[in-house]
Amino acid sequence: MVSGKKHTLVTLVEDKPGVLNRVASLFRRRAFNIESIAVGQSEQPDLSRMTIVVTGDFAQVEQVRKQLDKLIDVVKVSDITEEEMVARELALVKVKSDISNRSEIIQIADIFRANIVDVASDSLTIEVTGEEDKVDSLIELLRDFGIKELSRTGRIALTRGGRGSAK
């Protein structure tokens, strides 16, 4: 599934063992590549919110959305791609760094309002939050120094405005 654009699916699922497996298995079976999936607590104690990013054309994503909705443990699923949303991602980047370039890297991090969360004699670890574009750009700039380790959370998203999507 390479054609089409990126879609953001937001789902509320029962907070039970095996639910992530059910969701992931469905994407695999319908031959969809999940670009990212982020799971965590929602505003309701026994429900988790999953944010799933997939690429596909509208009909394909709509099909997978309906299949997801059929899972008993999926309480709600919406494709919020066309809606106004706030989307964020967090990344931790461990960059090679020594005394000679440390301040240069810190300057770059500052421009991105990223935080230095660990300093060692041969590395710096930077924490950055934002939309994927911003995270991508920072990572690109840091590549020149040599990235030792990188970890990204994948997108989490909520629609803008007062309307809750919970019920």
């Binding site: 699922v13 029962e14 095996g18 497996n21 059910r22 298995s25 469905l26 079976r29 009909a59 709509e62 099909q63 309906k66 299949q67 909705d69 059929k70 899972l71 008993i72 443990d73 999926v74 309480v75």
Partner: protein
Amino acid sequence: MKKTGAQILCESLIEEGVEIIFGFPGGALLPLYDTLLLYPQLRHILVRHEQGAAHAADGYARVKHKAGVCLATSGPGATNLVTGIANAYMDSSPMVAITGQVARPFIGKDAFQEIDITGITLPVTKHNYVITRVEEIARVVKEAFYIAQTGRPGPVLIDLPRDVQEEKTEFIYSGKVDLRGYKTVFRGHPSQVKKAGKLINGAVRPLIIAGQGVVISQAYSELEELAEKTQTAVVTTLLGIGSFPENHALSFGMLGMHGTAYANMAVQNADLIIAIGMRFDDRATADTKGFAPQARIIHIDIDPAEIDKNVSVDVPIVGDARQVLQSLNKEVNEMKHEEWLEQIIQWRQEHPATNIREGDELLPQYVIRQIYEITGGEAVIVTGVGQHQMWSAQHFFYDRPDSFISSGGLGTMGFELPAAIGAKAGRPDRTVWCVAGDGGFQMTMQEMATVVQDKLDIKIAVINNGSLGMVRQWQELFYERRYSGTQLWNPDFVKIAEAYGIPGIRVGRKDEVISAIQEAMYYPGAFLLEFVVEPEENVYPMVPPGLTLSKVMELPEAAQSKMGG
């Protein structure tokens, strides 16, 4: 008073109206099997392979319109169920499958006969459960039956660890289920129904395609009303057989790969398709790009995910076929489509599909037709998969519901005998004929022991063409007759039946067919007929793979000239 998990399971099943369990025991089910002795109202039918238990539950479900129950032990017992569960999933058959599991302290330790059956069956169940506490049993059973039997039906699996079967708690059976993530829409959206009504009222060449959804929701009279009121021709899918009487003037048989030429021509020339409870399976539509090119499409289905999945439609209506048709019938006008119906009738005259070649050879089609004649069309026909399945669909005329039981979506060889067991156990009042392929029969024929042990009066017709006929047909037509892996050495089926205590007759000549079928019918119990038929007979008409429904391949000319009525 506190009860054990096993007792609670049995009592919950009784609450759900379960009468029969098809099962096979094992270590992880010892407590449950011991408890079953206390509940004689739960009839246990011991199969000879767990696949048989699942198919039997499936066959039972299809004639009873309620969930069939199968039971297997952990590990290999559970994995043996999988084909039957997948079959039920593909054909939307309601089923509750219960598997034993190793005791909780052993889970995750690769204990003896421990297998992750919920993981394995994830993609072939509507939902599944692992029970972790005895307090959950009653609720889970309630939910399982509710999920299996409502909306688009399907199999639900419950994995029950051995030690939970022995744990005790109070038994409280609640009449309610609370599943916030499970929603089914039964009534079609009124504005969609109105739109559909308008399309129907304006159509010149309308056609109804009835699928298994009509059977599941038992919308027979509603479908008849729609067809008659609007004088619309009806064709069915393979599993839609029985949704509309085939002796009705508006019935034009089955569409699809082995459908009648006139049904397919009607699809290709219609200006409106009213698809009810069918999912545009590729065996029904052939190449979807050229499917019904002139038609707008109304699609009525209870599963929203079926809308626009294979074919994009103009007016989708999500809902139960029966309820939607009830409201749709109020929107449509009385109409006549004489010219269009005349046209389809003319196609039928030009491309007859139900004639059987004359001559002395013993043709499988003739066997099916004689079963139809001699049973007065009242039999339940349960088939395997292959040529005999298609001949059973084509040459028996199904006038009443629940008469054709077949594996459609998964196409599971070996379905025939165990599914017939389920059908007969569920409906002992009906004559049940198992029409088996000589290949498929050998996959599950050990269930003859079940037939005998449970005194089930099932008539078995083995269509012996000496080959895996359907595959052989494809090799003949598309691989220049290079027969690879399709020729069968067969045992003596009559002797095998006899060894099981089932009398039988081998029929090799056409003039023996009628008396043999009559003898089987008169015999008060199971009976096997082996028909040694023309080995290279093919199923026609046929739409070759990859082509549209317009490209129907009919019986070769030479053979056609020998046609009789």
